[in-house]
Amino acid sequence: MSDKFYKVLLFVVALVMPLVCGGIVYALVTDAYDAFEHFGFFKFLTSKEWSYTDGAEQYGALPFITGTLMTTLFALIFCIPFSLPVALFVGEYFKGTKIAAILSTVTDLLAGIPSIIYGLWGFYTLRPFIMALNISPQGSGVLTASLVLAIMIVPYAASLSAEFIKMVPNDLKEGAYSLGATRAEVIRKVVFPVAGSGIFSSYILAIGRALGETMTVTMLIGNTNNIPESITSTGNSMASIIANQFGEADDLRLSSLIAIGLILFLITAFINLIGKIMIKRARIA
């Protein structure tokens, strides 16, 4: 195989990526077009109606955008108190030890569990628990979904944060210790500031994960097409309304679901792009 042919071959195969990504955008945009044309783009985004009575069809994405943002936000809040300690455990306190390797294996395995099994666990174990605590009568809702989502994103946030915490130069840490700082002070005043942008970006990527998580949320959020009034209310996320209704939908409802898919795609693409750019910057610095 000549060098020239080899180069061309690699180039042609690599064209798959722009084709696939372009194809995704094209397919979503053309099939979402009906819904946007029928309701108007901004109306669709801001309407909270979702009714499929024949002749009086009304579809709006607001409840699901809200549901997605709420589950993601709470998942992030619940995830930080666990992922940050894991990152410190693996990247600082027990860096390079066997016990740290065991904990990273455990978090890796957590990341490997399929989302449908998280959903089952949430449904059969966590939901009765929440009912028993009298937090909400049916046990499903934003809170239940967020709690399980939080467990699911801990591994992502933790392993990436740990990577940045590990990269903090020993020179700096020894410098701080030589001035009389305790480990807690070194972590707060040296490790976090130096690794800060990297840690931050790992949470951005964790958010990217949580936004699109489908089965877990579908099984736990309660599947009601309203804006959740509080953390214990039921609702639907963008991904879960698609999972719930895509199979039975046609015409305008199908187009509306695809439009929701397009919005979700754009949001996650944006979040991931920011996260990746920040990570690249943090790695260079």
Binding site: E174, Y177, S178, K189, P193
Partner: protein, 256 residues
């Protein structure tokens, strides 16, 4: 000539070991006088840096390193003291200059206070920064860019900033671990000059690879070989008339 004041720092059968079998520093005993500069020399791997780092209890950061014997600071054994207390009284400057990259020059000088959670008033801060930067001869060069990050400075300036950072805590002893090995000759000359002036404020213990440097700046010298303190005495005497064959071999370049 014997000094009248008691030694500020005293090693008493100090041993440092990384594993049970291998001892990096073996039964070192020596007394260091106040306001002197003592150079620790020896071929690489002889334990000189290890001994120096033990004075700042740096080995406490690494659980497998053991230190035995005594190291007395003003008569108190630091091995049984709280590390954070010891390290405040013993400053350290490392091989590679490493100012905190997220802090300004100003904050770098004060970083010891920030790290120790000691609050200073604005005037105290300003005074400390000016005093310390002046004593490392950096004030004139940086007094108009104090809010810039310390990492913007040149290597020599960064190292002086690190010395200023250590001096800000008003330590009794300043440990320097080959502080000029990463610097160019001009920056090195600056730092050497600086050490001479600092002698009045602080007792300096410096590990150096460079015999010329030891001769130029130190009044006392230690020669270590394979973890043992082979010879300790006046620098001039050691260089002109070493009492041990191994010292002689090292100083004449037959070992290194």
């Amino acid at each position: 000539m014997e000094s009248v004041t008691p030694p500020i720092l005293e090693f008493n059968k100090t041993c440092v070991s990384y594993t049970k079998q291998t001892m990096a520093v073996k039964y070192v005993s020596a007394a260091i006088d106040k306001n002197t500069i003592t150079a620790i020399m020896g071929p690489s791997g002889c334990g000189k840096s290890t001994l120096l780092r033990a004075v700042n209890l740096m080995h406490n950061l690494y659980p497998n390193i053991r230190v035995d014997g005594e190291i007395l600071l003003n008569g108190e054994n630091i091995l049984s003291m709280e590390p954070i207390d010891v390290r405040r009284r013993v400053g350290m400057v490392f091989q590679r200059p490493a100012p905190f990259p997220t802090m300004s020059i100003y904050d770098n000088v004060l970083s010891g206070y920030v790290l120790n959670g000691i609050r200073l008033s604005k005037t105290e801060k300003d005074e400390t920064v000016e005093r310390c930067l002046k004593s490392v001869a950096l004030w004139d060069e940086v007094n108009d860019v104090l809010n810039k990050k310390g990492t913007f400075l040149s290597g020599g300036q960064q190292q002086r900033l690190c010395i200023a950072r250590a001096l800000a805590m008003k330590p009794d002893v300043l440990l320097m671990d080959e502080p000029t090995s990463a610097l160019d000759p001009i920056a090195t000359a600056h730092i050497e000059e600086l050490m001479q002036e600092l002698q009045n404020e602080v007792t300096i213990l410096i590990v150096t690879h460079n015999m010329g440097q030891a001769m130029r700046i130190s009044s006392k010298s230690m020669f270590m070989y394979l973890g043992e303190l082979v010879e300790y005495g006046d620098t001039a005497t050691m260089f002109s008339n070493p009492s041990d064959e191994r010292t002689k071999a090292y100083l004449t370049g037959k070992m290194g």
